[in-house]
């Protein structure tokens, strides 16, 4: 059982790291603000989500698991807000797109 859980952790965290890597690559290589935001939010949502899901079986209490999930939700929320604001600023010409 614990072997299976460990395998799940390794698989999910590795996949999460892959999304972070892809997101970072997109952030560096994409041509304008909107596509870069797209790459960035993918890294946050899926990358962090998979890392959190992968770490869940390693926690020793429900309490700690809930905290991990809360962190993911908060990052999702702030990511959504920040990308909205950046996109608005880019569209109104406040920052160079």
């Amino acid at each position: 059982m614990s072997l299976l859980l460990n395998l799940w952790t390794i698989l999910a965290v590795s996949l999460g790291v892959f999304f972070f890597l892809a997101g970072t690559l997109g952030l560096l290589r994409f041509p304008d603000v909107f596509t870069r935001l797209h790459a960035l939010t993918k890294a946050d949502n899926l990358g962090l989500g998979l890392v959190v899901l992968g770490l869940l079986p390693q926690m020793n209490s429900i309490h700690a698991m809930l905290k991990l999930l809360l962190i993911w939700l908060l990052v999702l929320f702030s990511g959504a807000i920040v990308s909205q604001m950046l996109a608005q600023a880019a569209r109104s010409g406040e920052i160079d797109s």
Binding site: L74, F77, S78, I81, Q84, M85, Q88
Partner: protein, 315 residues
């Protein structure tokens, strides 16, 4: 190479890279953003060094609040950035500066490599006496019992810095509100963010404060989160920044330091030394001081960020 060493090495290299970026890059805004990333990486380094309390403080204050402060200033000063960089020193000065900085680094590195072994430590002394303070987190015990005087002086430094900033106000707006008026946009995204995030942030700030007695956390980390939530309300235009001449504001600001000093004086009466705690009452007094410090620190940290009064004459 063990995985742990590889991780530490990668972290150290990233830290140096980000610090180099923050110091050397041309644009001030880019440098400040680099500094914020540096702060987050430093938080990871603190976790590696088993300083979780310090990691929380660094994330909240070192990277978060300081980054916010510097970024705000960088945006305000954008118009003079080009002029300010015109006076760059010549090559000779830069070589001399690099030599000076390099020799400081070499001296420090030499000191690091020749630190005494076994390392001197006060941990056994803390372990021996922590039961007396009735708190479980040794860092909190040091902050509020063994070295409480440092913490008292620190809160006074915060008050003094805030007074220093207030005194920079122009005569016409003396005692007025800091920052520029922000128009409230009820359909704006920031309005929505503030409505959702502030209640959650206040609960988390309170939790981090409360858990500090026994686990990593405490009043500074909690107060920083609460101050951040306050700043979010102000930025979203839901609440205006307060007039610094407001009596209520000033009362809340001095509440923490006043309670701290009173508890200290009570100690010299009951336990025979300033900030001493009588047997059996240590935790009660520590929690009293922390509870009184929380609102004061929240207000002071927020006001330090908001800066000097800019508009609306007091009263």
């Amino acid at each position: 190479m063990t995985p742990s060493l590889a991780l530490n090495l990668a972290l150290a290299l990233l830290l140096l890279g980000m610090a180099g970026w923050a110091v050397l890059v041309r644009s001030t805004q880019a440098a400040v953003i680099g500094f914020m990333v540096f702060g987050l990486l430093l938080t990871l380094a603190w976790a590696r060094l088993d300083g979780l309390d310090v990691a929380l403080t660094e994330a909240a204050i070192g990277g978060g609040l300081t980054g916010f402060l510097l970024l705000g200033a960088a945006v305000r000063l954008r118009s003079v950035e080009h002029r300010a960089t015109l006076q760059a020193p010549g090559l000779a000065t830069r070589i001399l500066a690099a030599l000076a900085a390099g020799s400081v680094t070499l001296l420090l590195a030499f000191a690091v490599l020749t630190l005494p072994s076994p390392a001197p430590s006060l941990a056994p002394a803390v372990a021996e006496n922590i039961a007396m303070t009735q708190v479980g987190n040794p860092v909190t015990a040091v902050l509020l019992a063994f070295r409480a005087l440092d913490t008292l002086l620190e809160t006074l430094v915060l008050v003094l810095a805030m007074l220093g900033i207030w005194s920079l106000a122009d005569d016409r707006v003396w005692g007025g509100r800091p920052g520029f008026a922000i128009a409230h946009d009820a359909s704006g995204i920031l309005h929505y963010a503030a409505r959702i995030l502030v209640p959650i942030g206040v609960v988390i700030g309170g939790y981090i404060f409360w858990i500090g007695a026994d686990d990593p956390g405490g009043k500074f980390q909690g107060a920083t989160l609460l101050a951040a939530m306050w700043l979010l309300l102000v930025l979203a235009g839901l609440r205006d920044a307060p007039r610094v001449s407001s009596q209520a504001l000033r009362l809340w600001v001095v509440l923490g330091p006043l309670v701290f000093i009173s508890v200290g004086l009570l100690g010299s009466w009951l336990a025979g030394s300033f900030l001493g705690y009588p047997q059996g009452y240590a935790k009660l007094m520590i929690v009293t001081v922390e509870l009184a410090l929380l609102p004061s620190l929240t207000l002071i940290l927020g006001l330090l960020i908001m800066g000097a009064p800019k508009r609306e004459i007091g009263r």
